[in-house]
Structures are given as C-alpha cells and as structure tokens.
C-alpha cells in the first residue's frame, strides 16, 4: 500500500539516506530504531516531503511522487495522504486545542465549520482532553500538547501516520500517556511509522522493527527477532548500548 523505492538524500555531499526501499502494508506498525544521525527523522520527513529527497519514488495509495519531477500538486496530495507528529509537538500557537484539530478539517478537507468543530470535539474527547478544548498550547502540559498533536494528525484520517520521536521532548511523567494513546491507535489498525528510542514500547507495539544506520536499512524483522537474536553485529552493538 505504501512503497518507498530507492529514497536518497544528501546534505552538503553527506549521504543521509542511501537508497531506502520499504514496503508498508495497510494497518502495519513499523518502528524505526538506530543511532542518532542515521537518517531516521530524515526518512520520515522525506516521506511527506517536508524535506525534498534527491531521488526516489514514494507511492501511497494511488498517489505516486518521483523526486526527479515532483509537482507541487502531487506533493500536496502526498501530504494529504500522510500525517505527521512532531518531536516538539508544533501545535499552532495561535489556535486553541480544538482549533488545532479542526484547522485541517476546515481548510484542507473543506468541511463546514460546525461539522468540523464537532468532529474535532469528538477527537478531543477520544484523546481524553475534552475539557481542554479552549486552551491554547502554551497553557497545556507537554503530554497534553503531544496528545493534541496526535489528535491533529488523526483528524485527517490519513493512510499513514508518521511519528518523529514523539516522546523525546517530554518530561518522563508525560511519556506514558502519549504511548498509551499510540497503542490505542494501534488497536484500531492505524498504519504507523514510528521513530522512537522507547525500546520497550517498540517491542510491544511494532509489527516490524527496522534498524537503520548510516542512511541504510541494516536489518528488519519482527520485534522478537530483532530484540532477542539480531543477525547483524551493528544491530547487536546498538541494542547492547540502549537496552543495558
């Protein structure tokens, strides 16, 4: 359903993504792990063209974007088929929690405002923040902000949700509530690609774990396999460091 072919990206001659190939099935939950600076975030950001890849083809549903000739229109379509959860939440600072979730429904999906607000309110109660509808991001805790960030991503009903280290910026006390919400989404068979350093969570939630290093996929497989008996030395070395 989602196919990434030969995705390549370099910054100042330094290859950050070195020919990534990846197929993702509908409802699949993929967790990407690996040392920092190995292109995990860049991979996510290239999938929805927040970064323009140097080469490669991304197909989601019937949308196909080739980096060689990516039109503005096809990129827009690609972004409407994906949603993104940011490490620093990136909630719209000038909008309330409810408006953050409704924004895309109104401006992108062109729903009438009352209907959009109703749907947003539904999502807000779904993520357990019905009482925060009129709060601005600045007055919410980190955990609450990230849950609204996830709610905003949920609103677009996109084919795949991309999570870029969604709990890395959180104080430890807020991590669990965000992970719980992601598990809830997993139960609903929402397709997700998650970059995270939460290894226990990865083991719990992933259908497939991908280990990346140096801009390449070194090894991939079910979590039981990757975490207990990885084939590659680099995977072993990395896991030894982070699992301890």
């Amino acid at each position: 359903m989602i196919r990434i072919q030969n995705l390549t990206k370099a910054y100042n001659g330094q290859k950050v993504l070195d020919g990534i190939n990846l197929d993702i099935a509908e409802g699949e939950i993929i967790v990407v792990i690996g040392p920092s600076g190995t292109g995990k975030s860049t991979l996510l950001r290239c999938i929805n063209y927040l970064e323009q890849p140097d080469a490669g083809i991304i197909s989601i549903g019937d949308t196909q974007v080739d980096a060689a000739h990516a039109s503005r229109k096809s990129v827009l379509k690609l972004r409407r088929n994906t949603s993104f959860v940011f490490q620093n939440y990136a909630l719209f600072a000038n909008k309330t929690a409810l408006q953050n979730i409704a924004e895309g429904l109104i401006t992108v999906w062109k729903k009438p405002k009352p209907q959009a607000l109703q749907e947003a309110a539904q999502i807000l109660s779904d993520i357990g923040l019905a009482d925060k509808a009129d709060s601005y991001p600045a007055s919410l805790s980190g955990g609450q902000q990230q849950r609204v960030g996830i709610g905003r991503a949920m609103a677009s009903h996109s084919q795949v949700m991309l999570f870029d280290e969604p709990t890395s910026a959180l104080d430890p006390e807020w991590v669990e509530e965000v992970l719980q919400l992601m598990k809830k989404l997993a139960h609903r068979k929402q397709t997700m690609v998650i970059v995270t350093h939460e290894m226990d969570f990865a083991r719990d939630i992933a259908d497939r774990v991908i280990f990346m290093e140096g801009g390449r996929i070194v090894e991939q497989g079910p979590p039981q396999k990757i975490f207990s008996q990885p084939d590659d030395d680099r995977t072993r070395a990395f896991l030894r460091k982070v699992l301890r």
């Binding site: 827009l76 990136a90 895309g104 992108v108």
Partner: protein, 223 residues
C-alpha cells in the same frame, strides 16, 4: 513673557477641524501600506523569482530617499512625464506617497517577524495538507502580526507625523492650517505649540490602542 493664552486656547478647536483630514490621510496610508507590506514580505520570505529582486529594489529606493523628495517626485515630477497623472489631486498624491514610503519599512518589519516564527509552525501546517500560501495566511502571519505590532505601530506613528509634509503639496491639513494661522496672526509660537500638542495627543491615544491590542494578541500565549 509674551504668551497669548487666549489666542492659544482659541486656536485649538479651529485646528482640530483639520485633524480629520490628517487622520484620514494616515489611516488610508496605513491600510494601503500594510497591504503592500504584507505582499512584499511574503514575496521576500518565499524568495519568489524576479519579484523578490524587484521588491528589494523598491525597498532600497523608498528607504534610501527622503519622503519629501518622494512626494515632490510623485506630485510635481511624474505628471510632467506621464500626462495621465496631471489630474491627480494633492490629497491622493500624499496618500500614495505615504503608503509607498512606509510600506517599505513595514515590509521589513513583517519579514523579520515571519522569520522569527519557529519553522515547525510552517511545517506542521504543510503536514496537514495546507499549501504554503494558506499556511502563511492561516498560521504564520497571525503569529507574526503579534511580533511585528510594536514596530508597525512605530512606523504608523511616524506616518501620522509625516502627514504634516502634505502641506507642501497644498493639502489643507492640520499643519497647513497652523502655518496659515501663524503667518496671519504672527503668533508663531502659540500656533505651532498648539499643533504640536495635537499631534502628541493623537500619538499617545494610538499608543494606548497598541497596548490594548498587544494584550489581546498575547492572550493565547499565557500559561
């Protein structure tokens, strides 16, 4: 001391009759200058080919030459070259001149404010499927407005005071009236002090308005 208090008090209501035209110039100028400035700031932030270069040239010219020279060029100079402009009246010329001049400064204030907004705000807007222009309009500009407000207000205050230059084009505004009164009564000090006070009070009132607007715009950012 030879200060004619009665004359001073009597001249103020007389001058106030011309405040309307001064404010009309300033407010019309503000509307046009802001519209132009937002357009130019966005062109510069998106680095639109060719247009970006033209905007830079425009800003360089209108910041690099005196307003008075610009007004004279516009009102006395251009109609000689372009006969179509002969019919333009002094008031319109003054509004156009003020708008063009201050839009150059305002564009730079707005551009700086846009650049001051965290890049992730634009990215988040793009990620939900908004086009760059829509993201600018819905998410980035409203936040930039709050940051730009103090410096935009500074420029507006400057514009209010600069409307006094319109008397050199023959617009019958506040300063022109004071000048006329002074030269017929020879009470220069009283006349110009009165006009100074009027400008001052107007500027103080607008500064109050600015504080109220800042408070309103800051609402979203309180913890």
């Amino acid at each position: 001391m030879n200060f004619d208090v009665t004359y001073f008090v009597e001249i103020i209501p007389l001058l106030l009759g011309y405040l309307g035209i001064t404010l009309k110039m300033a407010l019309l100028g503000l509307v046009f200058a802001l519209a132009l400035a937002v357009f130019m700031a966005v062109v510069r932030v998106f680095r639109v080919p060719v247009l970006d270069w033209l905007v830079q040239l425009y800003i360089s010219f209108f910041r690099g030459t005196p307003l008075l020279v610009q007004l004279f060029l516009l009102y006395y100079g251009l109609p000689q070259i372009f006969p179509l402009m002969v019919g333009i009246d002094a008031f319109t010329a003054a509004v156009i001149g003020l708008s063009l001049h201050f839009s150059a400064y305002m564009a730079e204030s707005i551009r700086a404010a846009i650049l001051g907004i965290d890049k992730s705000q634009m990215e988040a807007a793009l990620s939900i499927g908004q086009s760059p222009l829509m993201a600018m309009r819905r998410i980035v500009l409203p936040q930039a407005a709050r940051i730009a407000l103090p410096s935009l207000m500074n420029q507006f205050v400057d514009m209010i005071k600069s409307t006094s230059l319109a008397f050199t084009l023959g617009v019958a505004e506040l300063m022109a009236r004071a000048q006329m009164e002074a030269s017929s009564s020879f009470r220069f000090f009283e006349s110009f002090l009165a006009v100074a006070l009027i400008y001052w009070v107007v500027v103080v009132l607008f500064t109050r308005l600015q504080m109220m607007m800042e408070k309103r715009l800051n609402r979203a950012y309180q913890r």
